[in-house]
């Protein structure tokens, strides 16, 4: 039953959602979706507690067993407890909570995101090495498109921006749409496998 119940819940919910989506049920349809959203939100909140417990257990274990670099676990635990206390005391939209989110969490988030700029360079350096035919094609297309996007490109090779535009709007778009189409139908088929109970590895079986 432990394995069967999730399959039944998923199949029944999927049928309800599909019926509401495909058939014009008016206000009843909207109310059904809203109700399911609420259930989903409640489940999510419970799961969030499980996540916090796992995080605490892992980092407490690191600290108590003095595993390598356990100091980071202390920082993670202090940050988690402090954020929880601040939010509980000050409220989700309180001044202190907003200050912590905007001036600490968001800044750190942006800093990690900014690493992307450096990683683009290192990834480009490795992938643009002339090691095989595919890499050569990639290098050729990249150089052409970089020149096409930069104002200096047209100055060196007049008309290269038009070639770049064509590459982006025709072969590139065709490839992207092909992948999107395949992935879309693949997603439908994967969902049907789950609804029919053919795909049940997510239940642990």
């Amino acid at each position: 039953m432990k394995k069967q119940l999730p399959l039944i819940v998923v199949a029944v919910t999927a049928i309800i959602v599909m019926a509401v989506k495909f058939i014009d049920l008016g206000d009843f349809g909207a109310a059904t979706i809203k109700e399911l959203d609420t259930w989903s939100q409640v489940t999510y909140e419970f799961a969030f507690l499980l996540g916090a417990i796992n995080l605490t257990r892992l980092h407490y274990g690191n600290v108590s067993k003095k595993r390598p670099k356990w100091v980071y676990s202390v920082i993670a635990l202090i940050a988690m407890v402090a954020a929880a206390i601040i939010t509980l005391v000050n409220g989700v939209k309180g001044d202190v909570t907003v200050f912590v989110v905007e001036n600490i969490a968001n800044r750190i988030d942006s800093a990690v995101y900014a690493l992307l700029g450096f990683y683009v360079c290192s990834a480009a350096y490795r992938s643009f090495k002339l090691k095989n035919v595919e890499a050569t094609l990639l290098l050729g297309a990249a150089v052409l498109l970089m020149l096409a996007q930069a104002p200096i490109g047209d100055a060196i090779f007049p008309g290269i921006s038009k070639v770049g535009e064509w590459i982006l709007s025709v072969p590139n778009s065709a490839g992207m749409r092909g992948i999107r189409l395949g992935a879309g139908i693949g997603a439908y088929a994967a969902s049907i496998r789950v609804i029919l109970g053919l795909e049940r590895s997510w239940t642990g079986s």
Partner: protein
């Protein structure tokens, strides 16, 4: 044309506006899947799935980690429960079984708190099925953070501290894809990436050793399990893809001959 436009706005028969062809598409897929399942049940031949290098390489990646005595990192991506996550969890089940058989440590990181208990259960069950329940370590199945780049930073930390030999990024990825894959490459991991996000796939292609592009991710469970019924569903999806490809060709011909394919677009918008 006016009649078609009016129907598209009001909906046809009992269907919501613009949902008739969506329904036909899903219903066709259901029928094709059902036919393929029946064929598999009675033992009729099901076409084989072509070789997918990224999935073949999973054994190689785990073998490398085993030889080096280092762990394997697996992440099922950034999405919540959806088709990508189900596919990623199916691959996780396979990877966990192989890791248990090879006696290789498997570290799983999740971004969504509700994915964590499911991933944990899958790995635990896989270790049990492999006959090594004692090797399962719940501390290796880690919920990290809901925040996109906090998750990214934490996983980069794992790469630096625990030096996995293999990094499997299987699922739906967004802007963190390059940061994670590049950090994995710099840590010396053999990397297998899978993504359905067309704006991020190229990052995996240039940084990972093997990449599953788009629909290959959804074929993974059938490919790895070699179950004829699951394989049949992949064949069904390919048949539908051929039908849609034919529709694209018809649309192209109409657009070329008439100057636009608005009539076909209106018809498919019903």
């Amino acid at each position: 044309m006016t009649l078609l436009a009016a129907n598209a706005a009001e909906g046809v028969f009992i269907f919501a506006p613009g949902m008739l062809w969506d329904f036909i598409l899903i219903a066709s897929l259901f029928v094709l899947v059902f036919v393929m399942i029946q064929r598999a049940r009675v033992g009729l031949p099901i076409p084989e799935i072509r070789k997918i290098a990224g999935l073949e390489a999973i054994d190689e990646a785990l073998g490398r980690a085993t030889e080096m005595g280092k762990p394997v990192h697996y992440s099922p991506g950034m999405s919540g429960f959806g088709s990508e996550m189900y596919a990623a969890l199916a691959v996780l089940s396979y990877v966990a079984k192989m890791a248990a058989q090879y006696d290789t440590r498997l570290i799983v990181t999740t971004r969504r708190p509700y994915i964590h208990p499911v991933a944990s259960d899958i790995v635990k069950q896989s270790y049990l099925e492999a006959g090594r329940p004692e090797a399962f370590n719940p501390e290796d199945i880690r919920y990290v953070s809901e925040w996109q780049f906090s998750y990214t930073a934490a996983v980069m930390g794992i790469f630096q501290r625990e030096k996995p030999a293999a990094n499997l990024l299987i699922g739906y990825w967004m802007a963190e894809s390059l940061v994670l894959a590049e950090a994995g490459a710099q840590a010396g991991c053999i990397q297998i990436g899978a993504n359905t996000n067309i704006f991020q796939i190229h990052f995996f292609i240039v940084t990972c050793d093997y990449t599953l592009i788009g629909e290959e991710l959804f074929a993974a469970s059938a490919y790895l399990s070699k179950d004829p019924m699951l394989t049949g569903t992949v064949v069904a999806q390919d048949m539908l893809k051929i039908a849609i490809g034919c529709l694209v060709v018809i649309g192209t011909i109409i657009a070329t001959v008439k100057g636009d394919a608005q009539s076909l677009i209106d018809f498919l918008s019903l």
